[in-house]
């Protein structure tokens, strides 16, 4: 079955508490020069019908009010 990857990230302008906390902690760990850290989710799956993935994201995987998503097809269609 075709494999796909969905990347889900907090919408632009929406607070990302996780990214903020990690970014703030980095210098103390010896990592300087790292910015704009945003933390989201990644979903990998196999879907018979990749055409329906957008709908799946809207309904279940992402929260469209606060998250954007992006679908990547990982290998050739069936």
């Amino acid at each position: 079955m075709p494999r796909a990857r969905v990347l889900i990230r907090p919408k632009e302008g929406i607070l990302d508490p996780q990214g903020k906390a990690v970014e703030r902690a980095l210098p103390a760990l010896g990592f300087e020069g790292i910015e704009h850290v945003r933390i989201g989710r990644m979903v990998e799956l196999e879907a018979e019908d990749p055409a329906r993935l957008a709908e799946l994201c809207e309904k279940l995987l992402a929260n469209p009010l606060i998250e954007d998503y992006e679908i990547e097809q990982l290998d050739g269609a069936a």
Binding site: K11, E12, G13, I14, L15, P17, R24, L65, I66
Partner: protein
């Protein structure tokens, strides 16, 4: 320009549907911002000119229902707010009462209904965050959270989604920040389907002489913004004022949902408490609805001073925010402090220690003006008095409805036997055990929790600092208030008092959240008016002051208003945490008795609901008699005379018996004859509801002096009740499975 989610940021504003629609003629900006024409003209008059955009944004928010209480303030004047124990009353961020040994508890309940209906997880989480800030703004360390929730019927997918999200959100915030959640309530009723209620209450502990007020003072003192940086959160409605900079496709940059960050709050909380302990703050205020606009203006107003703020000094999350955006942003986890100039550096150092933000953004002036600058250039100037107290207050135009307006749905078959009815009531999600929900909350952090959820009618927290304990309860049955707003609200207060009595506590103070529909509509206005009178009369009769609260109006769905829902939170004191009681039967062979002026009827009950027989009308409670019964129970508990005490509420005596039995694993044998002698039918006696009923167990000998009427005995493994042709026997195990069914009903969404 979209208006999507304009009501997501604040609670209690007009819902989208009631805002003027964009017709052929473009409405004026003030109209889109929710101001009436007359209000706008009044603003022009007070300023002596047209407001600019920054000023209009600020006025529109401070003159909103949420901030100005324009339809409720006149009613609230009826509430009794004074008492010997009152340390802080309405008007402060939270109320507070003295509990002895130089300590006070601060508490308040607040709604986050509209944000939770849009995004339940974040809406509920930020609701908890907001009420915590109100409490630590006084210098009180939060020691408990309670939550009062209302959803549509649980067989609706939407309700289960909202329930799941709200419970996870409340847990997420409270658990992370380390404040125990010790109680609450959840009801499921169709009128909340499109407008759920999420009310959160916080209780904090402080040394009385170290508490701070929110009044700005000291001309020349610095105004310091602490905590999170400011983004475009919750600008929603005010976005009509945006200049073209943020183009059409960029609406996502103005999030309609605010994200809570409990980690940031935890740091700000510790930071503020440390600042207060070190005496570095003159005053402190949280930023809630309407952000800087309301916190700065209210501080200035309370102190009778002016404030100059420079928006260019506000740490921003997004570049290029406009001045009005900075002034109205509702970004979470921020606090505003007034600091003597010489101590600003020390304040900033403490904030750095806690890895949280701090910026000196303004100064206290003697101008009486709220002045907004950007890099030193004036961009707005308004008299504080006009902003905070200038909004007109409205009288309501109440009218009693002709009859029951909420509809009926029959879910119980007509021929159901008593056994079947009992099991159906126990399994009703509003009656069933809420363990599924409260186990998602940390109820033990802080080492104070002496009575956890479900072990007693009220939560009990030990307060070693004061050498005693407090008890807290939160209640409000909207269905019964719908049947009779006056009698139902009396019941909500009495139920709190009875809950406190059941753990041996004496009431000290009340907070409340008035969740109602559109006050501009006569029926909702009538419900609100009656409810406030009842709240006032009952608290007056009990001698318990109302020290704070919150009002959330415009709670409506397409089918009409929600059930009118006054949520009452009551805090009481007990001298010794080791001497309290629980609701579980304790000993085989103990006698069971009824105490109090309990005269149940089927009106407005869970059974009437299941039979589809809801209608207007509730019997009146005898407040004085209930208060006397509370005193009797409280004293008996303090004298160690009772094995258990449980107040009789949802589902009537039969459900109360089942709950005490399930909690102990012990059965009982009971005869309801004494209630029949009070004129109750067998069904009234078993399933009728009403105030004033205590179910107690203990030594039969001790009951006489209490005026309690023996009705049976603890023992066996069945609940056996003689009630004429309605007699029944149900196994404790069967009752327990019905009562524990909420988790399977709630999780149906996830399977």
């Amino acid at each position: 320009m979209t208006r999507a989610g304009a009501d997501a940021g604040v609670d209690g504003g007009p819902s989208l549907t009631s805002l003027p629609s964009t017709g052929a003629e473009q409405p004026a900006a003030y109209e889109v911002l929710g101001l009436k024409e007359a209000e706008y003209l009044l603003i022009v008059e007070k300023l002596g000119r047209e407001p600019n955009d920054v000023e209009l944004a600020m006025f529109s928010l401070l003159w909103s229902e949420h901030c100005a209480y324009k339809h409720s303030r006149k009613l609230l004047r009826r509430l009794p707010t004074e008492g010997e124990r009152v340390v802080m009353g309405p008007g402060e961020n939270a109320g507070a009462v003295a509990i002895g040994n130089g300590h006070a508890v601060a508490f308040k309940v607040e709604s986050h209904n509209h944000p939770s209906a849009v995004e339940p997880f974040q809406g509920a989480a930020t609701g908890v965050g907001g009420i915590l800030r109100d409490v630590f703004a006084l210098g009180a360390r939060p020691i408990a959270i309670l939550d009062s929730l209302r959803f549509g019927e649980i067989d609706s997918v939407r309700s289960r989604h909202l329930l799941d999200g709200a419970v996870r959100g409340i847990g997420h915030y409270g658990n992370s920040i380390g404040v125990p959640n010790i109680g609450g309530e959840i009801y499921f009723e169709a009128p909340y389907e499109h407008n759920c209620l999420v009310n959160a209450m916080c209780v904090g502990l402080a040394k009385t002489d170290e508490m701070v007020r929110a009044a700005a003072a000291g001309v020349g003192n610095a105004v310091v913004l602490m905590g999170a940086s400011t983004g475009r959160d919750g600008i929603g409605g005010a976005s009509v004022l945006a200049s073209a900079e943020l183009g059409e496709g960029d609406e996502a940059k103005r999030p309609t949902v605010q994200i809570g960050d409990p980690f940031e709050e935890s740091k700000v909380l510790e930071c503020c408490l440390e600042l207060l302990e070190k005496g570095l703050l003159v005053s402190l205020q949280d930023l809630g609805a309407a952000g800087l606009t309301s916190s700065a203006s209210e501080m200035a107003s309370a102190g009778g001073v002016g404030i100059d703020l420079d928006v260019a000094r506000v740490p921003l999350r997004e570049a290029d925010m406009e001045p009005f955006e900075i002034m109205v942003s509702e970004s979470q986890e921020r606090m505003l402090g007034v600091v003597e100039p010489a101590r600003v550096a020390e304040v900033i150092a403490v904030c750095e220690k806690w890895q949280t933000g701090a910026a000196e953004i303004g100064v206290v002036t003697d101008s009486g003006q709220m002045r907004v600058l950007r890099d030193g250039t004036l961009v707005g100037e308004m008299p504080v008095e006009a902003l905070v107290d200038g909004c007109p207050l409205y009288d309501l135009d109440p009218a009693e409805p002709e009859g029951w307006i909420y509809g009926n749905r029959t879910t119980l078959r007509e021929e159901a036997t008593s056994e079947e009815i009992l099991l159906a009531l126990l399994a009703a999600p509003s009656v069933a055990s809420k363990r599924w929900a409260f186990e998602q909350y940390d109820s033990v952090v802080g080492s104070r929790t002496v009575r956890r959820p479900e072990s007693a009618d009220a939560a009990v927290l030990q307060i070693p600092e004061a050498g005693n304990a407090i008890a807290v309860s939160i209640d409000g049955n909207g269905r019964r208030v719908a049947c009779d707003p006056y009698a139902g609200t009396v019941e909500a207060v009495l139920e709190c008092a009875q809950n406190l009595a059941c753990v041996g506590a004496e009431p000290l103070g009340v907070t409340n959240c008035l969740n109602f529909g559109n006050p501009e509509k006569p029926i909702s206005a009538w419900q609100l008016d009656r409810a406030v009178s009842a709240l006032a009369d009952t608290c007056e009769a009990l001698g318990v002051p109302v020290v704070g609260g919150n009002v959330s109006l415009y709670n409506e769905g397409p089918e009409g208003p929600i059930y009118p829902t006054p949520v009452v939170g009551m805090v009481g004191e007990l001298p010794d945490p080791a001497v309290t009681a629980g609701s579980a039967f304790a000993r085989e062979g103990d006698a069971i008795a009824l105490l109090g002026p309990f005269s149940p009827s089927l009106a407005g009950t869970e059974l009437a609901k299941q039979r589809g027989e809801l209608d207007m009308g509730l019997p009146r409670s005898d407040i004085t008699a209930v208060a006397a019964a509370c005193t009797a129970v409280r004293d008996a508990i303090r004298n160690g005379k009772l094995s258990s005490a449980h107040d009789i509420s949802d589902g009537g005596l039969a459900c109360a018996l089942a709950e005490s039995a399930i909690a102990s694993g012990l059965g009982c044998r009971v005869d309801v004859q004494p209630l029949r002698e009070r004129g109750c039918s067998p069904e009234d006696a078993l399933f009728g509801e009403g105030t004033g009923g205590f179910l107690i167990s203990g030594d039969r000998d001790s009951f006489d002096s209490l005026g309690a009427i023996p009705i049976g005995e603890v023992g066996g493994s069945t609940i056996e009740v003689a009630a004429g042709d309605r007699s029944f026997t149900v196994g404790v195990g069967a009752a327990e499975s019905a009562w524990r069914s909420l988790s399977s009903q709630a999780e149906a969404a996830r399977r």
